[in-house]
């Protein structure tokens, strides 16, 4: 279902959408890069992060 905001010209909408898609993939890439590089051994999330007694 196409449901863009009607008051925006189509070309500008397309540009904004591309930027947002780039943002979506950038955030995901940053997240998975961090998971793989920084959390070796904790790839599936750090269990200790939940209920640490605080």
């Amino acid at each position: 279902m196409e449901n863009p905001r009607e008051d925006t010209p189509r070309s500008r909408r397309r540009l904004v959408l591309w930027l947002l898609v780039a943002w979506l993939f950038t955030v995901n890439a940053a997240f998975y890069w961090d998971v793989v590089s920084e959390r070796a051994g904790e790839v599936f999330g750090d269990r200790s992060s939940v209920t640490r007694g605080d």
Partner: protein
């Protein structure tokens, strides 16, 4: 066999809660839009209200097995009548076409998502049925309930700094614990998480095809705090359910304009407030503001009438929470002990000790209210959630929500954004942990699923983008599956009888996220120390001890002349004053706190142990001394 009994006990709570909730909604003459939503709202209300039964019994000193069993059967019976009434009037519930019907002939992706959810939910259930583990759980979440049951009443525990804050969900867990094993406390949370999952899918299916609605639910259930807490006794999933349902009740009000929905909204916000300790008040405050604004702008009411609508939500929430504050006032002299003691008078704290305690949040996560942290918070919660002592919420919220700039959201989802938007700053200011925001997060995943669906369907981007979206969703669900395996495999194996309960507890509690090394010592002491002994313990976790106990730093935090904690004779008097028969310490001082008087006390206790006080038990991790008569 005990697992089946525990599961049945919780199913009984669910049936009773549903029945009671149906009665409440019927008394208010309210019908939600859709049978399932009606049932979910009823179950949330009913389960929350049920907690007041053991609460009242606890205050009356009636926490005895026969009383709790009789009470359970009574509420179950009354609830059953409500359930039957609900089933009989199923057809009368107002509502739209039921998207759930499409699941009778599911598509391949729908089937895969259902299979994934069933797999994760099954593993978390097996984990919930294992023995109780955790940190907060062993300090007070389950430990305080265990003490209340042992003493037969809800009493003041001066060395437990959190126990006086509202613990409504703990009451339900305590009730189940009295009738079954302590695993019931975890199964209660599992059920709450399952209800929240169903609420997410039920909300989502109103705006998108069923497969995307299922994806919304699966994306939410893949959040690591949801997965971990589904098998644990911390009340965050129950609280997430209460606040999420409060948001849904608010949607009902905005759609229909029936002010009786505000009573439900306020009631659920109140249940969130009494389930989530003191910071949980943010839900009721935010909803009161939101309702006022919505009544003024959306429903075009006069400003005073709009304010009255918001005030009604706040008043109902306060009325729901009031019994807890009154109880705390009676027991401690302050309705919010240990806070505001400068107003109500200090009890078992000195101002200096409380000042140190008051800085606990900042020591845990740093200065989270600085401008830099506030601006970076969305990124930090996504990439480095451990900076907020939180689990992984995933990249799809931060990455996907901005798509709302391009795709027009249905009115109800705009209102969901307003609900989350007004709560977010209050939550961040009060207690910024992912687990304290699970209700709004659940609803945000509905918005994200809608936006991803719109993106996948859009002709403004190539089909490759749709494939990419599917890839991102699959990657996140794979992380969720991995988290499930990582968090719960050992517990699930224990429930299935592959590993013994004792071995599981020993192994699990000594791991890096628990760091509890005294379990074996506790079991040994349970068999060698005289029954009825009272202990003074260094550890903050006293669960799994069969004795009453106080924590050692109680002596330090209420000492007005801390230098005296260096004097053995004085400390010995203080220990005797607490009625302690034995003192449990590590073999060497650990100096684990930054509050110096506690460290001086620790040294003195070590001096006494082995000199004035004979050692009665020693291991690599503990020394226990008998306090000289």
């Amino acid at each position: 066999m005990s697992a089946l009994r525990d599961l049945l006990i919780v199913c009984g709570f669910l049936a009773a809660g549903l029945g009671w909730g149906v009665w409440i909604l019927r008394i208010l003459d309210l019908r939600a839009s859709g049978r399932l939503r009606h049932a979910l709202l009823a179950a949330g209300l009913g389960l929350g209200v049920l907690g007041y039964v053991p609460f009242a019994l606890g205050l009356a000193g009636l926490l005895r097995f026969p009383v709790l069993l009789a009470g359970y059967l009574a509420v179950l019976g009354m609830g059953a009548v409500g359930c039957i009434s609900f089933l009989r009037h199923l057809g009368e519930a107002s509502g739209e076409a039921d998207g759930w019907a499409t699941l009778r002939r599911p598509s391949g992706p729908s089937l895969a998502l259902v299979a994934l959810l069933v797999a994760i939910v099954s593993v978390t259930l097996l984990a919930a049925l294992a023995p109780v583990v955790g940190v907060d759980e062993l300090i007070y979440r389950v430990a305080a309930a265990d003490t209340y049951l042992r003493e037969g009443q809800m009493l003041y525990l001066p060395s437990s700094q959190y126990h006086q804050q509202p613990q409504q969900v703990q009451m339900l867990q305590m009730w189940g614990m009295a009738l079954g094993s302590d695993s019931v406390t975890q199964v209660v949370q599992w059920v709450m998480g399952l209800l929240l999952l169903i609420a997410v899918v039920d909300l989502a299916r109103r705006f998108m095809p069923m497969v995307w609605a299922l994806l919304a639910g699966a994306m939410f259930y893949a959040v690591s705090d949801v997965i971990v807490l589904s098998g644990r006794a911390s009340p965050d999933l129950a609280n997430g359910l209460f606040l999420g349902l409060a948001g849904i009740a608010w949607l009902e009000w905005t759609a229909r304009g029936e002010d009786r929905w505000l009573l439900v909204t306020g009631g659920l916000a109140g249940l969130f407030a009494v389930g989530a300790r003191l910071p949980g008040a943010y839900g009721a405050i935010g909803l009161a503001v939101l309702v006022s604004v919505a009544a003024w702008r959306l429903l075009r009411r006069r400003p005073l009438r709009a304010l009255a609508a918001g005030a009604a939500v706040g008043a109902v929430a306060l009325a729901v929470a009031a019994p807890w504050y009154v109880k705390t006032w009676i027991q401690t002299g302050s309705p919010v002990w240990p806070f505001l003691q400068s107003v109500f008078g200090f009890r078992d704290w000195t101002p200096e000790a409380f000042r140190y305690f008051g800085g606990i949040q900042e020591r845990a996560i740093g200065r989270w209210l600085s401008l830099g942290r506030i601006l970076a918070a969305p990124w930090e919660f996504t990439i480095e959630p451990d900076r907020f002592n939180s689990g992984v919420v995933g990249p799809l919220l931060l990455g996907g929500l901005p798509l709302a700039l391009v795709f027009r959201l249905p009115t109800q989802l705009v209102r969901v954004l307003a609900f989350c938007g007004i709560l977010a700053p209050l939550w961040y200011a009060s207690y910024p942990r992912v687990r304290a925001f699970l209700g709004p997060i659940a609803l945000l995943f509905v918005v994200v699923a809608f936006l991803l669906w719109q993106l996948a369907e859009s002709t403004l981007v190539p089909r490759l983008a749709a494939l990419g979206v599917a890839g991102l969703a699959v990657a996140w669900l794979a992380v969720g599956l991995g988290q499930t395996v990582r968090a719960h495999t050992e517990a699930a194996k224990t429930t299935l009888g592959i590993e013994s309960r004792q071995q599981y507890l020993i192994d699990r509690l000594s791991q890096a996220d628990m760091q509890f090394d005294w379990l074996g010592d506790y079991w040994a002491l349970n068999s060698v120390l005289p029954k009825g002994s009272r202990l003074l313990i260094y550890e903050s976790r006293g669960y799994y001890l069969d004795f009453g106990y106080d924590r050692y730093d109680l002596i330090a935090k209420r000492e007005t002349d801390p230098e005296r904690l260096r004097e053995p004779a004085y400390v010995e008097d203080q220990v005797r004053g607490l009625g302690s028969d034995y003192v449990l310490l590590w073999p060497e001082p650990r100096f684990a706190t930054g509050y110096e008087p506690s460290n001086w006390l620790e040294v003195t206790l070590h001096d006494l142990c082995g000199s004035r006080w004979p050692i009665v038990y020693q291991s690599q991790t503990m020394v226990a001394c008998k306090v000289a008569a």
